[in-house]
């Protein structure tokens, strides 16, 4: 299959994720958009690796690492969001400005 299909899919998915990160105010929704971006990158890595060697092992290993780091990031971010809820009783990122002077 032509590589361009996978490239276009991951480019569109990445842009949707960037839009979500920029336009959303709820912290959980921003986190979900980050997951979209990470998935777009993973698709690209796996598709390109099939052009380096036909089995595409390297891309799959990079994708496994991306998924691992995404899981770690997700757990930590949810803990921070729960803490944000208990401090300001919502997860609105515009109001989370107490670390600013």
């Amino acid at each position: 299959m032509e590589l361009i299909y996978f490239e276009l899919l991951s480019a569109v998915l990445f842009s949707i994720g960037v839009y979500g990160v920029l336009a959303r105010r709820h912290a959980v929704l921003v986190l979900m958009s980050i997951e979209l971006i990470l998935n777009a990158v993973t698709i690209n890595a796996v598709a390109y690796a099939t052009h380096i060697d036909a089995s595409g092992i390297t891309g799959q290993i990079i994708a496994i690492f991306v998924i691992t780091i995404a899981a770690a990031e997700f757990g930590l971010a949810l803990a921070i969001i729960l803490r944000l809820y208990s401090q300001q009783s919502n997860a609105n990122l515009d109001e989370a400005n107490r670390m600013k002077w």
Binding site: S15, Q60, I61, T68
Partner: protein
């Protein structure tokens, strides 16, 4: 149009449908379910690339772990504001920025001449062998990252 392309079109339509749902719905619970559609369909894309282990990992970790944890975290917080999430004021700017970004990313893709390549099946044995010989140190570092994230999440989430 070959059968592969038809399957790819259907799966990527599902991926984009879920992704647009995540960034446009006003309900956080619905957004989680849309995210599940996207992540499950990305597993289908991995199967098209003959990366069946990756598809399995994608469904287990994203579908099984992350979505469940997300729903639990939403249940532990206040439910009344779920269905009325407002977007930020910079929404028009965000649309412009993401469309421009899409153009910037796609332009070199359309100019390159990399064609298709016939894929060979990658079995699990090769993948495991590669992971535990050539990529052993990144693998160990990843396990350390998971440990640090686990302890960090407990410390941050604890009541004091």
């Amino acid at each position: 149009m070959s059968g592969e392309v038809i399957v790819f079109t259907i799966i990527s339509a599902m991926v984009l449908f879920g992704a647009l749902g995540v960034v446009s719905t006003k309900n956080v619970g619905h957004a989680t379910l849309y995210l599940l559609i996207t992540l499950g369909s990305v597993a289908g894309i991995f199967i098209l690339l003959l990366a069946e282990f990756l598809a399995l990992v994608q469904i287990l970790i994203y579908g099984g772990a992350i979505t469940i944890v997300l729903l639990f975290a939403l249940m532990l917080t206040r439910v009344d504001e779920f269905s009325s999430i407002k977007d930020a004021v910079q929404r028009p700017v965000a649309i412009v920025v993401s469309v421009l970004l899409l153009g910037v990313i796609i332009t070199p893709f359309l100019q390159e001449t990399l064609g298709g390549q016939s894929l060979t099946e990658s079995n699990l044995r090769t993948l495991g062998h590669e992971l535990f010989t050539k990529w052993l140190i990144p693998f160990e570092v990843a396990s350390l990252v998971l440990l640090v994230a686990l302890i960090g999440a407990i410390v941050v989430g604890r009541d004091d």
